[in-house]
Structures are given as structure tokens and as C-alpha cells.
Subunit: 155 residues, 5 copies
């Protein structure tokens, strides 16, 4: 199994390091391939190349959209590209985007980035196991980047 990791120069945090560290902690026995691009809108084609030229089975796409309205549009365009790549390849891309305006300060931004990237690295390995490997966690209000929201049951 091979996991691709695509990251950007635009990001203010080295998110690649979190993914790499988590995969190591999980004793992931497969290979990894990295692809670095300028910004999030360059990620979709990088993911596609990771699948088609580098034979990755799943890609983790790491990005950090900015605060402005134009940044949100860019993020939406990147996400639509990422959707398209998955449908063209029948493979998962776990989109790990941390928005510059979802944290109060740089310290929290760092924490969210670490938490979200690592949790999705765990999800990546589970998804490679099969389509029901995550079913025990379905409907549990699981979050990446923040604490879980939890399950709502019938009262």
C-alpha cells in the first residue's frame, strides 16, 4: 500500500511532518510519496499524478486556505477539483484543510493543524483496510481538529 501526501508552500505550518509522524507511530508498513505545490489550487492535479504516475492508493491533501473571501473561493475550487480526482480514480483523497481564520491565534492554529492531520492519517490507514473499517465509529460525531461532538441517541 502506498499513501501519497500532497502539501503546499502557502501553508504556514509544516503539516507534512504531522502526517509523516503519525504514519510512523502507526507502524504503517507501506510506502509514502510526497508532492509539494505552491498553493491549494495546485493540489488536485498533484493528487491525480500521485495516483496515476506514482501508484498511490490514497492521498492525504494538506492545505491552509487564507482568511479573505477570495481565499474561500480558491478553497472551494480546490475541493471541487479534489472531488473530481477521486471520481476519476475511484480512490480516496482525505482533504485536510485548516483555514487561517478558524483559530484564535497561531498557537491554536498549530494545534488544530496537528490534531486534524494526525487524525486523518489514522483515517487513511483505516480506509485502506476496507469499506467497513470505520463503521464502528459511524454516527458518533467524530471531529478532526477539534474534540468530538458525540452521538445523539433516542431519549
Amino acid at each position: 500500500m502506498k499513501i501519497g501526501i500532497a502539501d503546499t508552500m502557502f501553508s504556514r505550518i509544516n503539516m507534512f511532518a504531522f502526517a509523516e509522524q503519525q504514519l510512523k507511530e502507526l507502524n504503517f508498513s507501506g510506502d509514502t510519496e510526497r508532492y509539494t505545490v505552491p498553493g491549494i489550487k495546485d493540489l488536485p492535479v498533484a493528487c491525480k499524478i500521485l495516483f496515476e504516475k506514482f501508484n498511490c492508493d490514497l492521498v492525504i491533501a494538506l492545505g491552509m486556505p487564507g482568511k479573505e473571501k477570495i481565499d474561500k473561493t480558491c478553497s472551494h475550487e480546490a475541493s471541487l477539483g479534489i472531488q473530481a480526482v477521486q471520481l476519476m480514480t475511484n480512490k480516496h483523497i482525505l482533504e485536510v484543510f485548516v483555514h487561517l481564520d478558524e483559530a484564535k491565534n497561531e498557537k491554536q492554529l498549530f494545534e488544530i493543524s496537528e490534531n486534524r492531520t494526525k487524525k486523518h492519517a489514522i483515517n487513511a490507514v483505516k480506509l485502506l483496510e476496507g469499506k467497513t473499517a470505520l463503521s464502528d465509529l459511524a454516527g458518533k460525531g467524530i471531529r478532526q481538529g477539534f474534540s468530538n461532538a458525540g452521538e445523539i441517541k433516542n431519549e
Copy 2:
């Protein structure tokens, strides 16, 4: 006939259970295949895989988008992906999304989720019967999750 059911870890309610329960009540004689992913943006490719690798004839996609503006964007991206998968496969995906902000409280959220999922499970079985199996209900203002709006006739 085989119905795929895709669900998410992000959802705060076990919507899969509602779908499974309804199909049982309908004495659906076909098979089902489950696919669990982290969040709604991971659903489209899961649906496509359910069609192409697991030979499903129709998929019910269960998701629970969040309250924030970014969540609405994610939901829109997931929906566009779901549109694309249907057109690539010529098969229906019934999108059962319950938004975290469409209910007043957790109790109502649970009720909407149960109602919408079960009604769409019924629709799923009908759609597999043929293209006019639902025609008796056309133009009747049928709703899932809430009570029906009803038909407007010429006064």
C-alpha cells in the same frame, strides 16, 4: 438487487440503523453493502466504489452537514460529487443529508433523521422497481424529514 448504504463518522446520529431497519420492515429481499467514511466529502467516491466494485444498483448516502458557512460549502461540494457519480454510472443515489441547524434541539434532529432516512429507504426500493413506480405520488408535495406539503390543485 443490491442497495449500498454510505455513512459518515461525522454524523451525530446512527442513520445507518434507520435505513437498515426500514429495509427489513419492507422485507427487501436483496443485499446491502455498507461503506463508512470520515465525512460527507468522502461520500461521493464511496458511492462510486459501491456501484463499480460492489455492484450496487442504488446507493443511499447518509450525511449530517454542520452549522457553519464552511459546512454548507462542504455539503454543496459533496452534493456536486454525488451528482457526478450518478451521471457516470446511470444509477440513483438518494442523498439523505440532515443539517445540524435544521432542528431546534437534539430530539427533533433525531426525529428528522429517522423520518428522512426511512422515507428515502422506501423511495429506494420503489425506484428499483422502475421509472414510474413513484408516479402516483408525483406533484403531491411529498417531504422527507417533515410532514408533506400537499398538492395544490386548480381552484
Copy 3:
């Protein structure tokens, strides 16, 4: 020639009847095929199936989007799907959407629905005649659902 007519359970008005009635009044000599789905987001794949499995030459897609913001998003997604189907098949889909909030009351909603559906049924038959069958009406400010806006000429 075969015209497909796709309609929804969500619609509060039996728009199919208007289309059928108009085609009869026009003495349309071809066949029609109906496909009923739960809501507007289920229309695109139904149109595609009407083209590819039921050999329709043109489809009239009848829908009634709701009033809420989420309904407008759904309508946009359905319209993008309908665009995609046309480009995949090189055939026209006349999208007849009547929004629940474009009328003052139920009576007007009924009138708009009847007017728009019937006028588009006429357009459908004309489009099947050829690419310039409607050219005499080009630039005339023709409307469906409301009265025509009329042509603006050089003063």
C-alpha cells in the same frame, strides 16, 4: 421522435399533466416516456436514463424548488447536473423549474406552473424540428411562466 418527461414527488403541482395536455393539443405524433423521482436532485440521472435506456430525443425536466436557502443550493446542483447530462448526450433538456417563492399565492403558483410547462412543451416540439425552428422568435424577450418582455429595437 420521443420526448421524455421527468417529474418529482416534491412538487406541489402535477406539472406532468400540463406537459401531457400540451403535447396532445399540439398533436405531437411521437412517443413520451415518464420518469418520476423524489426531488429535483434526482432529476439529472433520470434524464440521462431517459436518453440512454429509453431513447428519448429530448427531455422536459419538471421541478419545484423550495423557498429556503438550502433549496436554492439544491436547485443549483440539479441545474448543473442537467447541464452535464445535455453535454454528455448532445440532447436538449428543457428545465422547467417553478420556485415556491416566485408566486404570491397558491393560485398564481398554479398559473405560473401551467404557463411555463406548456410553453416549454411547445419549445420542445419546435427544437426537435431543427436548430433554427425557433429563430423567428430570437431576441423577442420571450418568457415562460410570465408574459413576454418584448423586443427592444434601435430608437
Copy 4:
């Protein structure tokens, strides 16, 4: 060389006449093909058919979106369809849309329509000459429908 011209019944101005007149003034020696549809959302597939069934080398798509929010959504959907057709055919579509709310009055709307359509008819003929036929005008702040904005040079 063959230029397709697609136009709509919805438009309040006969934009086709402007295009035809300009091509005549340019002594364009090739052929033209017209395709008239009800509204702008019907233009993309008409353009595709002009390319694929009528062998056009470039299409001018003439439309007049309305003033309401829903009209802007329709215009966006039509534009996305026009993008898709170009990428499916590797041919240019010059989108000449005049919005009903970009003019102060009907007289100005007429002037904008004439100006924009004619300038794009000129662009069409130039684009058919080759990929650098317009390079002398690059970066000059050229506008269609209004007067040019002009070039900004280093002070």
C-alpha cells in the same frame, strides 16, 4: 472556416443581427450556422451540437441574463456549461452575455449589446487566425460593451 452563432428567445435584443452584420463588414469568407434556443441555459448543448454535428470551428454564444438573483445563478450555470463544452471540443466559445441590469435604460442596453457583440465577432475571426493573432492587444485593458480601460505601465 465556419463560425456558429447561438442565440436565445429570452434576449430582448436581436444580437444575432449584430454578429451577422459585423462578419459581413469583415468580409468573413467562411460559413456561419445559427442555433436558436429558449434561454441561456440551453446554449451550452447548442454550442456543442454546432461543433460536433455542424462542424463549426468557433461559436459565438449570445445571451441576455435577467436582473434577479435566480437569473444570475442561471447565467453562472450556462457559463460553466460553456466552459465544459470548450474543454470537450478544444474549440473557443466567445460568450457574449449582456445583463439586463448593466445598463441604465433600454437605449444603453442596445448600445452595449451592439458594441459587445460586434467586438467579439472581430475577436472570433482573429482567434481563428491563430493563437497569437491577438497578442498585440494583450495587456491593453481591452473591453467589449464599454470603452477600453487602457494599459497601466511602469511609472
Copy 5:
């Protein structure tokens, strides 16, 4: 290696000159191909033709969206087209868009245009070297058009 450069008549600044100058400064030994179109919505198909008919390995797409709401919609449509072209060709397009409203005055607009175009010309050459050629700069908060935001490290 061949780099395509697509630019527009709409732009108020000769951005092509910046790209050409930077490639020369870098002693880029490959070829370049230029394609000039009227506006940003004409760029995607131009990029696709640069890849498929002129054998470019990467394209730099230069554009200058206007200030109005409609301009932002056009820019979004162009960006989605550029996403699609990349996924259809497995090649990078570096989108260098400078919005007319992101500068305080014409002098600053010129500076942003020069800075952003030149930095992306450098990125273009690096991306052609391979998928990790930019990895040393990943997560460093690199910006084009403005000064870098810098890296956030764990405190």
C-alpha cells in the same frame, strides 16, 4: 521542456513580459508558446490547446479579473475551467490572477502583477524538475504578489 503562457486582452498590464523576463533570468533552456485570448474565461481552453496541440508541459495562465461581482463570478468560472484542464491532462497550470481591486492604486497593481508573475515563473520551472523540488519551501507561508507570511512553529 516547453512552458505555455496564456494571457488576455482584458488585463491592464502586460503580464506576459514579466513571465518572459523571469524565464530569461532563470536561463530556462526550454521553449515557450504564447496564446492570447480576449478575457479570463477564454483561458482554460487556450491552456488545453497549449498542452494538446503545442505539447506544453506546464502552462502559466495570466489574467486580471475586474472589481464587480460579475467579474468575481467570471474569475471563479475560469478557475474551475483551469482545474478541469489540469485533471484532463495531468499537467500543472499555474494560475496567476491579479484582481483589479486588490491594490490601492495602479502603481501597486503593477508591483503585485510583476511580483506574482515572476514568482510563479520560478515555481513553474521548479515544478518541471519534479514533485519534491518545492518541498524545502513547504509550510513556510510563501506568498506570490505580497511578502511571505512565514512559518508558524510550535512555541
